[in-house]
Amino acid sequence: MRLSPDELVIWQRGFVVLNSTIVTTWALMLVMTVGARLITRKLKTEGEISRWQGFLEIVVTTIQQQIKEVGLLHPEKYLGFIGTLFLFIAVSNLCAILPLYEPPTGSLSTTTALALSVFVAVSLFGIEEQGLGGYLKSYLKPTFVMLPFNIISEFSRTFALAIRLFGNIMSGTLIVGILLTIAPLIFPIFMDLLGLLTGMVQAYIFSILATVYIAAATRTREA
């Protein structure tokens, strides 16, 4: 029983190992980038707008509106990072409907990488907004006794982001695998549907939590 797509090795030479996680991630990146490039080749602002462009516009404006509702005043600055997080996790979880596909987010490596990138991004956005001194001083709020707790909470938030996404997706694929050996007729389909739903919810949760952390780090002090 395979716990994660890391264990399926596709090509290996020396210490360079191409496992299913890496190959699937790059395939997803290729599909999304090429697809987006093809759709945005001829952007139109009036007249007959193609359906794909309308779809992309819905996606982008919805993400922008969600970022603004969380409290970030200039969503354009953060739209690239947060939109990428949401779209990558959502597409990788939605493609679970394809046969012979294992979502790369079901591997602890991918989710740890995403959580680490959120950690770095929160620090960078905080420093950009408040300056290095202001950002470091925010760790001493509300009193300087809270410094170790703030540091611990920073690391545990990152850890929780990684484990939450990994646990949800991995358990979804694992339960379908187990059900296939026990009751293969109808139940795996229901668990597949549940897996799709939780995949979308987890993508939304990951990006909203990233937004909330960035908002907390860039919040200017009340004058």
Partner: protein
């Protein structure tokens, strides 16, 4: 009872108890969260989108606790390092 049997027994029992005990509190917490959210939705339907979004974020954080227990349980069953070590010892002998 040699160490191999002991490791197997303890792993199986602890895996079951972990996920059983670890899902009680998150389930209760999520029930309370949803019921409070429904109350406030009934009182202020205009704030529905904010309430719903905050509800989902809160539910995900509560759910994480159950997910931690699930991950430990899965590791004990499928990727148990102590079991692998003992198996490697017996096959290596």
């Amino acid at each position: 009872m040699d160490s191999m049997t002991l490791i197997a027994i303890v792993s199986i029992i602890v895996a079951g108890v972990t996920i059983a005990a670890g899902s009680i509190a998150p389930a209760l917490g999520e029930g309370r969260a949803v019921s409070t959210a429904l109350n406030s939705l009934a009182q202020q339907p205009d704030a529905a989108s904010t309430i719903t979004r905050t509800l989902f974020v809160g539910l995900a954080m509560i759910e994480s606790i159950a997910i931690y227990c699930l991950v430990i349980s899965m590791i004990l069953i499928f990727a148990n390092p102590f079991w692998n070590h003992v198996i490697a010892q017996t096959t290596g002998k």
